[in-house]
Amino acid sequence: MLSQNAIAYLIIIALGLPLVAGIFGLFGKNSKAFNTAVGIMNMLGAALGACGAGAFLFLQDRGLFLSSSAPLLDLARFFPFLPSHALSVDMLSAYFLLIVNVGFFLVSWFSIFYLPRESDRYRFPWLHIATALFVFGMQLTVVSGTPLIFLFAWEIMSFAAYFLVIADRSAESVKAGFSYAIMTQLGAACLIAGFALVSRGNMNALFLELPPVAGAAAVAGLILLIIGFAAKAGIFPFHEWLPAAHPQAPSSSSALMSGVMLKVALYGLLRVFETVAHFTLPLPVIFGFLALTLFTAFYGALMAAVESDLKRALAWSSVENMGIMFSMAGMVALFFALGGNGAAGAVWIALLVFAFCHMLFKSGLFMASGALISETHTRDLDLMGGLAKKWPVFSGMFLALCLCAAALPPAGTFYSEWIFMTTVASSIGAGAIIGLILTIVISVFALAAGLAAFAMVKIFAGAFLAKPRSDHAAHVGGLPLALYASPAVAGVLCVALGIFLPYFLRGVFPSAEGVMFSGSALMVGGTSFSPLTVVLSLMAAVAGVWILRSVFVSRRPRTTDTWDCGAPLTSRMEYTATAFAAPPRFFFHIFTLPLKKIISQPVSADNRWIVQKKLEHESRTIAEAFIYRPVARAIDGIAGRVKRLQSGVVQFYLALIFVALVVTLIVAL
């Protein structure tokens, strides 16, 4: 049995090793050998951290909520103003530490093989040091025990992420980085203010020892904290930066940002909900929170379904997933408010399982799309296609990851959503009004799930199926297995997590209320079923069909053209991803706001009937059209008025100072 000290050492090494690797990487220029060395060091650190966190989860404390925390390192020895528990681990932070480290392990593995293919776009020393700081910040955030350390680590993480976004220094990246920086600083400001209000100014207090949330100021602080985390997680209406910034980073860093950093934002929220607020949130706050997060889930899925840029579509899908996870957190709070502790526990577990799966499949998808893009040289799904024939293994892996993202069986995400849906649906009978709310929750959830399945099918079909839609896609080379071994492992893990979920949960949360396990079966809300049986029966059915077919038919198929009605098919006649998504774009046009413009220009001067027509298609987002623009206009207008104060007369300025002084004195005294 590992002792607590050993676990602490493992985690501290995992904190430090990436920093060492990053500094080491500074001296290597764009050398492949250095990159490999840095990658191996990172993998080692991540593996140690994962071991430490995993050992803590499986061996130490067994409570579902508010488990006691174990100190990691006595920072007070070096910084006397800090409390001795400033760095500590409990169940929640160990779980997210595991997520961070597993994600980092997979990404480091991938970047050993991926980055050399992109060596003409990125400067490696820059990437290495930014990644090191980024990961250090994330790990520190997760193990911090006080608001002060938390904010410090949070800023390191945010700051480093900015440099990852602008890593290729293109104009688009700089623009995306700018909007990221603004939103993240706004969020951080909310966090600082929120923690100050909640902790009554004592930022050095341990999370566990913060005063209970009571009074208007504390509730306001809580709301500010929620806004801060929502801004980082891309919850509507603070989501606009996410689909712009995540895709701009190198794919390995996108995988870290979408797969791992968003989990840190989630961790912050859960930490505040669990440890600071003890889930006692006012009902109106919960309802508002649920409304926004559910809308985020729906809207993110919708935009993922209509977006044709591969990485942006994945980023939108992250917005959806964060909406789902945040709304699960809201449901935990709602169930506690209603007194349904068992239901709250079940949703909590669903949330944690979803978070783990999301790290796996989203980082896997980003890494796989990185490999894909490095061959096809485009992010546009409309210019891909035909790759399933060229890369059968890779496409199978991508399909498995898409299956996980679409929350279909046998992926772990399906069982997470299954626990959630069953719990919520079992609680519908609690009363008319609550039933109404829960029904809305569950149906929006289902709509988001349907849209997510649509989005994933579209992404896979656009990228891999039919004929190649561009020359690049038609002439792709082979993909080495080493390049996509890491996302493949992520996919396998995500599916395995689903199949063996009862065993996993029994190891981590043996005493969970709301979810029970017997053998290979999960039991929620009085109903049980076994993921293993589902997979086995699915496999048995496929095998049975296969055998029957082989018995009946043995002739080999004959290959011919595709049926084209006589006019030879070109790739221009196929359905592209954009065309595929036309129905949802139309059905939900009040959310997608498509702008279709047909510009016709006369070609010849003497005949105005001969025209060249051009179709322009553009999507605005509702947040931009209805929130950001009006706010910007309002600020602009106010600024215009304020400008009049700048009259240039010194006496006027002095008068202003005088007035300010008098007002301050009146207020202060």
Partner: protein
């Protein structure tokens, strides 16, 4: 205005039609041990007169579905290809690919005089010639256009021919 009493219209002899249909059914049962055959029609440049007659096969009056025959939308689903019209140059490739992608065993039936001989268009620069010139034909149904009963008779002949082939 109807100038001829309905009973004198040539193809109004339903008993005859039913016998033929019944024979087809019997023959198919005998030949293939109980099959439902699907027909894919290809208009290779006809005047649409044949198409009208073929469409009539599906109406409540003739109703070929009761003999286990049906029309289908893709040559990949088809057992019988019916081709009408002199094969125009534009449709030559279409006819060939359709023939190619129809899974065997398959029967090709040329429907109408134009499909059999090229009709009055034979020799035109826009026409390749009769269907035979492009794909192998198993049966020919003369008439411009052939009546539904004649078409059914032609199908029967085609099936009998393939029966003979099988026995030979």
């Amino acid at each position: 205005m109807i100038t001829e009493s309905p009973s004198k219209i040539r193809d109004f002899n339903l008993e005859n039609f039913e016998t033929i249909g019944g024979n087809i059914k019997k023959l198919v049962d005998e030949l293939y041990g109980g099959r439902a055959l699907r027909i894919r029609h290809i208009d290779a440049g006809s005047t649409n007169a044949e198409e009208l007659e073929l469409t009539a096969l599906g109406n409540p009056y003739y109703d070929i579905e009761r003999f286990g025959l049906s029309f289908t939308a893709s040559p990949r689903h088809a057992d019988i290809l019916t081709v009408s019209g002199p094969v125009t140059r534009n449709m030559e490739r279409a006819l060939k690919t359709a023939y190619e992608m129809t899974p065997s065993p398959k029967i090709v039936v040329a429907v109408g005089d134009a499909a059999i001989t090229g009709g009055i268009w034979n020799g035109s620069y826009a026409v390749v010639g009769p269907v035979e010139a492009v794909v192998p034909v198993d049966a020919k149904i003369p008439g411009d256009p052939p009546s539904p009963t004649a078409i059914m008779k032609g199908l029967l002949t085609a099936l009998e021919a393939s029966k003979d082939k099988k026995h030979a």
